[in-house]
Symmetry: C2
Subunit: 267 residues, 2 copies
């Protein structure tokens, strides 16, 4: 299947509101085209299932199958009852869909954990570097709050890990790149189980958490100091260090390239 363009590709590109071998795909395409045309935008309500069913000439079950997909993909939120907040409402929360995708693919052995870690390494290293180089200093308030919360001495490891994950996500969000932020959320979700399992292999949690906290501070510090090289190196060591400590994940990639960016285009 790894052949050239369009081998599988679940949804064809007919674009037409109709068409589609399967009825539910027609619904998906209809919604997509209305989204692309600007007819539908985040915040809008989709027609009711029965209305959509009648409008497209398909059964309600088919409409529901499509809506289910949209819901899992983080495109809509459904709410029973009546009133302004009821029905299927367009939202754009990719992290949910990304998380579901990653978790299931890991479960089905579609994504090796090592690949996820390596991808995290690449993305986070790049994010740290970008944050450090960002001209208008990025807003790290959320990250700071999380670091403070992680200093609380009575956190159980799993709580600490949750804060840790949120901290890394906060950095990605601070970069302003929504694709990276959502991808990071998904990656983390995919390896969550493994990170928790790795917890058991840590001998001295106190020492490890202290080290992690220190590394976190160092990363934020490097970003604030606009020291991209240091930020990249630190975050790379931080991530690969944790996985090296908990379970064997060949990090493969070199610690990190030095920055030396060209002066740079504005943005």
């Amino acid at each position: 299947m790894g052949d050239a363009a369009s081998a599988d590709d679940a949804s064809a590109r007919p674009v037409a509101t109709t068409a589609g071998a399967r009825a539910w795909q027609a619904v998906l395409e209809h919604v997509e085209s209305r989204l692309l045309s600007g007819d539908l935008a985040p915040g809008d309500r989709l027609p009711g299932e029965r209305a959509l069913s009648a409008e497209l000439g398909v059964g309600r079950s088919s409409v529901r199958e499509a809506l289910r997909v949209l819901e899992v993909l983080g495109l809509i939120r459904t709410q029973a009852g009546s009133g302004p907040s009821a029905g299927a409402i367009i939202i754009a929360t990719p992290s949910g869909g990304m998380s579901a995708l990653m978790r299931l693919q890991v479960a089905a052995h579609g994504f090796p954990v090592a690949d996820i870690v390596r991808t995290r390494l690449i993305l986070e290293t790049a994010v740290a570097g970008e944050l450090a180089e960002a001209v208008p200093a990025p807003d790290l308030a959320a990250a700071d709050r999380l670091l403070d919360a992680m200093d609380s001495p009575d956190l159980v490891p799993s709580e600490f890990l949750a804060l840790d994950a949120t901290f890394h996500l906060a950095l990605a969000e601070a970069s302003g790149n929504q694709v990276i932020a959502a991808t990071m959320a998904g990656l983390r979700s995919g390896i969550e189980g493994y990170a928790l399992a790795g917890l058991a292999t840590i001998a001295d949690w106190g020492a490890t958490s202290a080290r992690l906290r220190h590394e976190h501070r160092g990363i934020v510090e490097a970003i604030r100091a606009a020291d991209a090289a240091s930020a990249r190196t630190r975050i790379h060591g931080h991530i690969s260090g944790y996985y090296a400590e908990t379970f064997v994940v060949p990090t493969a990639a070199p610690p990190t390239p030095t920055p030396s960016p060209t002066p740079s285009p504005a943005r």
Copy 2:
């Protein structure tokens, strides 16, 4: 999954085979747990919809909604009829799900096109660097074939672009990182429409395509020469160059960091 508003970290983790406010979620969780336990693996057939329905005590429609999600996410392939290839079969083809996710999120304005391009830049630059540094020289045969195909003089622009996309995907696949390969496939799918639209803004297609072909050769050449720095710089310039030429997408990130991998701190 409706974590839109509140802190989204840990949510949707019931894990239990049962549970789940909605019936279709129970099915999803059941499949996921069987996947995690190794009870189900790629290549296996899921029980029939009717059997699953009876087994879990939910209606067939609910089972179907869950299967639809699994199908879109690239986890299963369904085939009507009878025989060994019929039914719902576990596969692990994340690129399909990733593509659907990206396309729809872009359509719903959940993902700005600029962020996708920036992410592509980061991933591809890293991939090029890794390929150049890979100890057992990576297999670039697929990439070579695509480059040869792109030399054909009678390609229409859209065909050329399709080959171009496949070439970039081939590089990602050569890196052996499935997460990156799938992500790249998704990213490309999300901006496909924009790339095609940008085609119209190119004045001299012949010159542009010649330049692209030359840049491609240069990238592969740098990788073969194990010149990571050059590979990174070239691919960064290649990608940002095309988008700069077709439509305004602030590439933001600096051309690319120089390599200087761990082992040999040359320079």
